[in-house]
Symmetry: C2
Subunit: 301 residues, 2 copies
DNA sequence: AGTTTTAATAAGATTAACTTATGATAACAA
DNA sequence: TTGTTATCATAAGTTAATCTTATTAAAACT
């Protein structure tokens, strides 16, 4: 008895064609089906919708008013279908990525551009947060995916490895260490060091490594920006330890020398996280795939 | 397979409650019915609408977008129902009346005011047309009812008598005819006459009556307005023949003397017309009823 | 007047939707 | 961990809604 779609499509068709019979033909139903649909609608509304006058059926005043709303209703529903369909071919939608400043700055821009060129309708948002906070955001569904330093231990999140997140030492090309093929931790402690501020993920990690090795580095400067560190290292202020991914340009141009300090097994992993059962969206999947392709093409040290 | 209302109500309920089971309780269905409804919706849209994650089910991106449209859809439908309901208690709607200038001017205003006071939501429109055109308008459904001089011969229209449409002679209270209780056609021909312009319904009728009686009236003025005629008759320019309904005020105030010229059987009838099978609206019925009450209370000559 | 067109009605058939019963999975508690 | 509870999925059978066929009635056109 609640208004059904069939009733409303019948109503609309009769209004359009001005005839029960033609409406039936149009909808591939029989005429009695239409009569019944209209009658139950009329009973529910308590008003006649059409004046049956032999040849043609005209809308009553109630019918005219109701038709306006019914048509708008169908339109709204159709729009809803369209917008969902648009989601499927990525002509619409949104994608929120939570990640670290470093990743956002040194890795994402190229991929973002590529993604945006291919799917201009998708609204991409980047949230810059330390990895644990990114994890929380993804768990809370505030972001679709996170690109974070693993491991993240959260039963609600699924993880996938992306790339080895290698920290390397850097020095100016003219620096005495630049000739060496390989350096060790003791070498780092023997030279003036510029490091990231306390509190940064990378700094915490480096501090722990020095402590584990019972070494006391000579930290002559603490800075908030990897870019500034790189500049000062070039100017011979000292050496530093930074993520390899931050050195793309300098390695290519030979303006900095990167030196491997850690073994592969000592490196952490950059990975993607997403809600365990809240399937990540198509946009997210495609973005991640683009990201993988991009990283595969990147030179390693 | 076409989207059904049940599916959409189920979808909305699950979105609201965050649970298939609670949605089922809310809608007095069982949980499998909800599962099936959601599934068929998802199949039709080709997208999952909820992420089933144990305790609660969350909307996916597609679900969030679709929900917006579904809610708007229900709202639109509900508004449609409301507006039709408003029509029933006359808190909304419209009423178009087609009638002559004379009727519109001398009869309708009081009834209109009463109607408007009682049903302020109903939008009343008056179309002023000669009776045959009014009839055509009603037949073409451009007006809901017509108030016209009968007879109207149109098989598509139904007629009802309203009141005798009596034309009477008028003269100034000081005029020699004013003493007479009754006058005849010859009396009219014996005095200077002011008449309505050719083309008016009333004038055509009067001309015919003179012709039938083989009389030649002394027409000294032809005017377009009954009001002007009344004024000039008061100023002793002559006598005239006008519809009785136009003399309400003057008879009450004694500023004009009305004299019966025609027998009842010679009078035409004012009646209402409406489409034979296009049932006239509630607003129209009530308006007509008010009109009858109003006319019953009017003094006859 | 007779034919055609159109809508209403009644009865039976079809189909869609619901319910019951059951199984699988995840969250929660001991 | 292991049992318990809560939630959703699935299958089978039932119910209920909707459709079709057949027929009637009424109006419009020939």
């Amino acid at each position: 008895m609640i208004t059904s779609m069939e009733q409303l499509t019948a109503f609309r068709a009769v209004a359009e064609t001005g005839s029960f019979t033609r409406a039936a033909e149009k909808l591939f139903r029989t005429q009695p089906a239409i009569s019944q649909a209209i009658r139950s609608l009329e009973e529910e509304l308590g008003e006649l919708l059409f004046t049956r006058e032999g040849r043609q059926s005209r809308l009553t005043q109630a019918g005219r008013i109701f038709l306006i709303h019914v048509e708008e209703m169908f339109e709204t529903l159709e729009q809803g279908r369209d917008r969902v369909a648009a989601l499927k071919d990525l002509t619409a939608g949104e994608l929120t990525i939570s990640t670290s400043d470093t990743t956002a700055y040194y890795i994402l821009p190229d991929v973002l551009k590529r993604f945006r060129d291919q799917y201009p309708g998708v609204d991409v948002r980047i949230q810059c947060k330390p990895s644990p906070e990114s994890a929380a955001q993804v768990a809370a569904r505030e972001a679709d995916v996170g690109i974070v330093t693993l491991p993240i231990e959260n039963p609600k999140l699924a993880c996938e490895d992306l790339i080895l997140r290698e920290d390397v030492a850097i020095c100016a090309p003219t620096h005495e260490l630049a000739k060496r093929r390989k350096i060790v931790f003791q070498d780092l402690a023997a030279h003036p060091l510029l490091l990231l501020d306390h509190g940064s993920n990378t700094r915490t990690y480096i501090d722990r490594r020095f402590r584990d090795a019972s070494l006391k580095p000579q930290i002559i400067m603490e800075l908030g920006s990897i870019e500034v560190i790189k500049k000062l290292v070039q100017l011979q202020f000292g050496i530093s330890i930074v993520p390899l991914i931050a050195l793309q340009t300098e390695i290519e141009q030979g303006t900095l020398k990167a030196l491997r300090v850690f073994k592969k097994s000592e490196c952490r992993t950059l990975g993607i996280i997403y809600p365990e059962r809240g399937i990540h969206s198509l946009a997210a999947r495609i973005f991640i795939e683009m990201l993988r392709n991009y990283l595969d093409g990147k030179a390693r040290l």
